[in-house]
């Protein structure tokens, strides 16, 4: 078994210099160094993106342990395929595109498994509501609120076709820019904008969702 090294979650656990940055050029520099085999650069990239990727995966599969495993796999695959990344400045969207593919694989395997099982699970029905231990809350009230939230999100996303749902989620839950979404999904920006427009239209019609958010935020 190969030896492993744990990467700190954030700046609280890492050194002061190991801060999270949003500077694209700085990330591109790390990517260049990581391509040359720099361990330090790899650690910085993991530190920068591990929580974002974990959240992204969790939004889609709603299981903490599975999301953690997938996050691990996504990073390993990313570092393995790093020499193929031509434009270092696109690392973030490239990493998200790897994550999207891994999640698809995850659901494919799940469907295959469910095919041989008595209880039929599908992408639409699996993981809509997180398990009790995965809902991130401590108190009972918080748990109820979060459960309600994920149900509302599920209702909203169920009304969208797959690509629209992916665009909407990447833009508003994963907080990617329109350009990053288009790069991650390998679609042109105008297509992304059209999907986004339709998604927001559906969001506007979900009065219960909007009321819920306004209540929770206030």
């Amino acid at each position: 078994m190969s030896k492993i090294e744990t990467v700190p979650l954030n700046s609280d656990q890492g050194a002061t210099s190991d801060r999270v940055t949003d500077t694209v050029s700085e990330i591109a520099g790390w990517v260049q160094n990581a391509k040359r085999g720099s361990r330090h650069a790899c650690n910085r990239l993991v530190e920068q993106f591990q929580e974002k990727i974990f959240r992204m995966v969790f939004y889609r599969i709603r299981s903490r342990s599975d999301a953690e495993d997938l996050t691990q796999e996504i990073f390993l695959q990313a570092f393995k395929s790093l020499p193929r990344l031509k434009n270092e400045e696109r690392f973030k969207s490239w990493l998200f595109s790897i994550a999207i593919n891994r999640i698809r694989d995850y659901y494919r395997k799940k469907k295959l498994r469910s095919f041989f099982m008595t209880s039929i699970e599908s992408e639409e029905s699996v993981g809509r509501t997180p398990r009790q231990e995965d809902d991130g809350g401590t108190g009972a009230l918080q748990r109820v609120i979060r459960k309600d939230f994920w149900q509302q999100v599920g209702i909203l996303l169920d009304k969208m076709p797959r690509m629209e749902r992916e665009v909407f989620t990447l833009r508003f839950m994963d907080q990617l820019s329109i350009r990053e979404v288009s790069q991650a999904l390998k679609k042109n920006e105008s297509t992304v904008k059209t999907h986004l427009y339709r998604g927001i239209q559906k969001f506007r019609k979900e009065a219960s969702m909007r009321n819920f958010l306004q209540e929770v935020i206030s």
Binding site: S2, K3, I4, E5, T6, V7, P8, L9, A34, K35, G37, R39, C42, N43, V46, Q50, F54, R55, F58, Y59, R64, S65, E68, D69, T71, Q72, F75, L76, F79, K80, S81, L82, P83, R84, P130, E133, D134, D135, G136, G137, R146, F149, W150, V153, F172, M173, Q175, I178, K193, Y197, I200, Q201, F203, R204, M209, R210, L213, Q214, V216, I217
Partner: protein, 183 residues
Amino acid sequence: MNTNQQAHLNEDQLLWAFVDKAGLPDAAQAHLAECPLCRGQKQRLENDLAALGEFAGESVPKLQKRVQLPLEISPSRKLPGWYWQAAMGTAVAALLVISVIWWPGTGLLVPDTNTPVTAWDQQDDEKFMAQIRVLTENDLPQVYLDISEGLDSGDSEEFIDFVVPSLDQDSLSYDFANRRSLS
């Protein structure tokens, strides 16, 4: 145009103002810049969507199993595209060379067309006649020849007598001859 006279943004324009403001007509953009009501509506939509992202982020459990990198990170040394192109080109060239050399009818190993056809016919005839000569000398298949090779010349006489008896030794012929003499 005065803000009061300009119609407020409709639902469609409001959504496009959020998705792609630059895609709005100039008049709508100008109205949005001046109209607090439309700006407020757009702002509310932005706030709702920001709240969605924010609350989603808060509803995610803490990452407990952190990403673990193997001590030896070895990016896969995938060969570059030009390498595969060069390899494919070489393979195709090799195939072409082989086909030029061996292709039936046109290959380089086929005799040249300058040789008269009669000469080739003559060669074929000679080969054919040689085969006939071999058959004439001994038409037994090679298997039988191999068997008979083990016998010396004295034995081969006996062997042939055994396989093809003479008229005197042939039992049927002998009976027939005896009957004739008796009668």
